[in-house]
Amino acid sequence: MSSKAATAGQAPAVPVQSWAKIVLAAWLVPGAGHFMLKRPGRGGLLLGSVALMFFFGLLMRGTMFHWQTGDMLTTVIYCGGFLADLSNGLLYLLTVWFGYNQPDMAGHVHDYGTKFLVGAGLLNILAIIDAYEIATGKKD
């Protein structure tokens, strides 16, 4: 433990190498971080939930957000939505690379689709944080 951390009463810093690969894997494939940390049951549940939510969002023809700035509300909604979509990792990247480009349309099914795509990304962020905490020993 470094003297600075000891005097501040903080836990010693965990080396980046011990969790970086796990966090990257958890971002790219939902639940992969938990699989790497030998927690296959939880990883499977996370993978199933996030992937199914994402696929249902696609089947409902939800819209992917694009980075767009302007007034405060536009920036928060579009940039936040884009970051949430991006949090789906490979699911998002493959979908965009394969040319999915649904324009924003009226209708509750399209709206739910968009929310499912964003929601899946936000749930994957929770899964990434959980994997990080397990990898750094803050959690079992």
């Binding site: 996370l46 249902f56 089947l59 409902m60 099914v109 929310k115 929770l126």
Partner: protein, 62 residues
């Protein structure tokens, strides 16, 4: 392009609640028993909020 999956408000919201509850249960608690209970409780809260808001909107449209 038209959606290839056509759900009602209720069905879509229930599906959303189900997936969100599973993830919240998995990442929040420490033991499997606690995770199951928390996931079920989250799902119940989602459903109660869904039905309650549905009634509120119905009353607001009268």
């Amino acid at each position: 392009m038209r959606p290839s999956m056509n759900l009602s408000h209720f069905e879509a919201a229930i599906l959303f609640a189900l997936f969100a509850s599973v993830v919240l249960g998995v990442v929040t608690k420490k033991t499997d028993h606690e995770r199951l209970r928390y996931g079920l409780r989250c799902f119940a809260y989602f459903v109660v909020a869904l039905v309650g808001l549905g009634w509120l909107m119905w009353l607001g449209h009268r």
